[in-house]
């Protein structure tokens, strides 16, 4: 187990380092200097030089990369183009995004698992087709389409939920939930098919397994077979895979947060992209990568804890 963990963490760190190189040089090597890109073609050369100097963009590239990445490791994310510390923008935004993602997962994980199990129990029948095909189609449709549809139906026509996620200052917990419900619903549409598919595949496999047949043959009641033999084996890996998805979700909130005007990391990324604020943009992308890799690591650990074949098994597991 410790060896397995060390290997995973090591690979994760290498991946992060490569991501930082990709992000930094991808954003820097491309044509035009940073100051010119931020200020536009009509700014005076003096202003461009001044901004470049302020951002450290007049240093050699490797020096810039080192300053950025060593700062990142110390928790100093640098200064945005507007002079605001990047940490002041990113950390509160990340907190907001996590809040939204958690609410969405609390709704979608039980729903998705239920859908997947129901589909597996009716494999090949109409209800299975409906859940599988419907769920996957829902996943394939871009989230902004779901968002505008959700606003149309629940906010404009039924008038039951607010069309923005920005709750009034000082709102209580329940009011905040009410404001987050519509954006969370859009995420439910996007994620349901994915989770249901995982749960369905796992359940079908477990239903087919020898241990299930044995349990049925030895006369256990169907309920017990389902709970102790089928679900236990099919759902725990599903949950572990869902954890990976959670990390991905945090960074994928750009569209939903923009439509619902929610001050999360996605909206911070979008605003930075609009203002060509490369310091914020680069650090935010790297933070998203860190969150994703942490979630993947958590998923790996969870999976190995739940699955003795990985925990005790061979090197290449």
């Amino acid at each position: 187990m410790p060896k397995f963990l060390a290997k995973r963490i090591g690979l994760g760190l290498i991946t992060l380092w490569l991501l930082s190189v990709l992000v930094f040089f991808g954003a820097s090597v491309l044509p035009g200097d940073v100051g010119r890109r931020v200020l536009g073609p009509f700014a005076s050369q003096q202003a461009v030089d001044a901004l470049n100097h302020k951002l450290g963009a007049d240093q050699p590239l490797l020096q810039q990369y080192w300053d950025w990445i060593s700062g990142f490791l110390r928790g100093d994310l640098g200064t945005s183009v507007n002079g605001q510390p990047v940490s002041d923008i990113i950390w509160p935004a990340l907190g907001h995004s996590v809040k939204l993602a958690v609410l969405a997962f609390i709704i979608v994980v039980p729903l998705g698992i239920l859908g997947g199990v129901v589909a597996a129990l009716h494999e090949g029948k109409a209800s299975d087709r409906l859940i599988s095909v419907g769920g996957l189609s829902a996943t394939a449709i871009p989230d902004f389409v779901w968002a505008v549809l959700a606003i149309l139906v629940f906010s404009l026509w039924l008038n039951v939920l607010p069309s923005t996620a920005q709750w009034p200052d000082g709102s209580g917990f329940l009011t905040q939930i009410k404001y987050l419900l519509l954006p969370a619903l859009c995420l439910v549409f996007v994620l349901f098919g994915y989770i249901a598919r995982m749960a369905r595949a796992g359940t079908i496999e477990a239903l087919d397994a020898d241990y299930t047949r044995t349990a049925v043959i030895k006369g256990l009641p169907q309920r017990t077979v389902m709970r102790r033999h089928v679900l236990r084996n099919s759902l725990l890996p599903t949950i572990a895979v869902v954890a990976t998805q959670a990390g991905y979700l945090i960074g994928g909130l750009v569209v939903i947060e923009l439509i619902f005007n929610y001050q999360g990391i996605g909206l911070a990324l979008f605003r930075a992209a609009e203002q060509k604020d490369f310091p914020v943009l680069e650090s935010a992308v790297l933070v998203v990568g860190v969150v994703f890799l942490l979630a993947t690591l958590a998923a790996d650990i969870l999976y190995s804890v739940l699955n003795p074949r990985v925990r005790l098994g061979s090197e290449d597991a």
Partner: protein, 306 residues
């Protein structure tokens, strides 16, 4: 085995002269298998539904201006935000442009950018997958780590960063989406190559001293074309998704183009005022195209993975 012709096996009588050891029956088998696949495809309801939907939008993309009842670019400030009716079937947008015409003509840009981006990604990804799968070892390790790094951040975010750096244009969209998709496609191709490379025809090619590029592209590639084709259609669905999302964010296709994502972006703020039509119709168009492409992909996957 998912696809392609069965590997030409070495006939024992060929002895030293391995270069001519291609048994003719395999060609017939391949033709039969391919005919069988097409038969399956044309009997698959999902595939036909996909062909109909995507075909409709392709027609709109080609003949858009001829089909559209009004000029999609003609602004008419006196008639802005007219609700749907007999004069304007889908109403007008905030500049008084006809939403119906704009939805029809809007098929063009996305149907140019998304397939080209997918093609670029497939070519790059297939080459990368062939190399990583065939060499394994250090090359594979390094490339796999780079692929992981790409995959650690959602595609839209990486694409957003690159588009901001390059400046939005159709060419930039194609290149960025193609490059971002390449590692994902490479991963699938690599898995297919890993099982191919152990087969006899590859060792035969190696024994008769073929050059590595020849083995990769002339021997292995034809045998992994099935997964490559399936991956292409699946990725096409994601490319439509990504282009639409980037356009929605204002970093894709630029105004005044009647692109669907852009139309939603320009008008979603007006929904709460009750102006739903400039948003709903382009959004429905995107949804139908994405579903159509996914039905195509689903049909192909089923036909090839039998």
């Amino acid at each position: 085995m998912s696809a392609g012709a069965p590997p030409p096996s070495l006939s024992p009588s060929a002895g030293g002269d391995l270069a001519v050891a291609v048994p003719p029956p395999s060609v017939d088998d391949a033709r039969l298998a391919s005919r069988e696949r097409w038969r399956l495809l044309w009997h698959s309801k999902t595939f036909i539904a996909g062909v109909v939907i995507v075909g409709f939008w392709i027609l709109c993309a080609i003949f858009g201006k001829a089909i559209a009842p009004k000029d999609p670019f003609a602004a008419d400030p006196l008639n802005s935000l007219v609700s749907p009716g007999s004069a304007y079937w889908f109403g007008t947008d905030r500049l008084g442009r006809d939403v119906f015409s704009r939805v029809i003509v809007g098929a063009r840009d996305i149907l140019i950018v998304a397939p080209l981006a997918t093609l670029l990604g497939t070519v790059l990804g297939t080459a990368l997958g062939l190399i990583t799968g065939y060499f394994r070892g250090a090359v594979d390790d390094v490339l796999s780590r780079i692929i992981d790094a790409f995959l650690a951040v959602p595609v839209v975010i990486i694409a957003l960063l690159a588009i901001v750096a390059l400046g939005p244009s159709k060419v930039a969209l194609i290149i960025v989406i193609g490059v971002v998709f390449a590692p994902i496609i490479a991963r699938t191709v690599r898995a297919a190559v890993l099982s191919e490379r152990e087969l006899e025809y590859v060792s035969a090619a190696r024994l008769r001293n073929e050059r590595t590029p020849y083995i990769l592209f002339a021997e292995i590639l034809p045998n992994v074309m099935g997964p490559v084709l399936v991956e292409f259609t699946v990725r096409l669905g994601y490319a439509v998704f990504t282009v639409a999302t980037l356009s929605f964010l204002g970093f894709g296709i630029q105004p005044p183009a009647p692109d669907w994502g852009l139309q939603v972006f320009e008008h979603f703020g007006l929904i709460s005022g009750g102006y739903w039509w400039p948003v709903l119709f382009p959004a429905a168009a995107i949804a139908s195209l994405v579903i159509g492409v996914n039905l195509l992909a689903d049909g192909l996957t089923q036909a090839f993975e039998r």
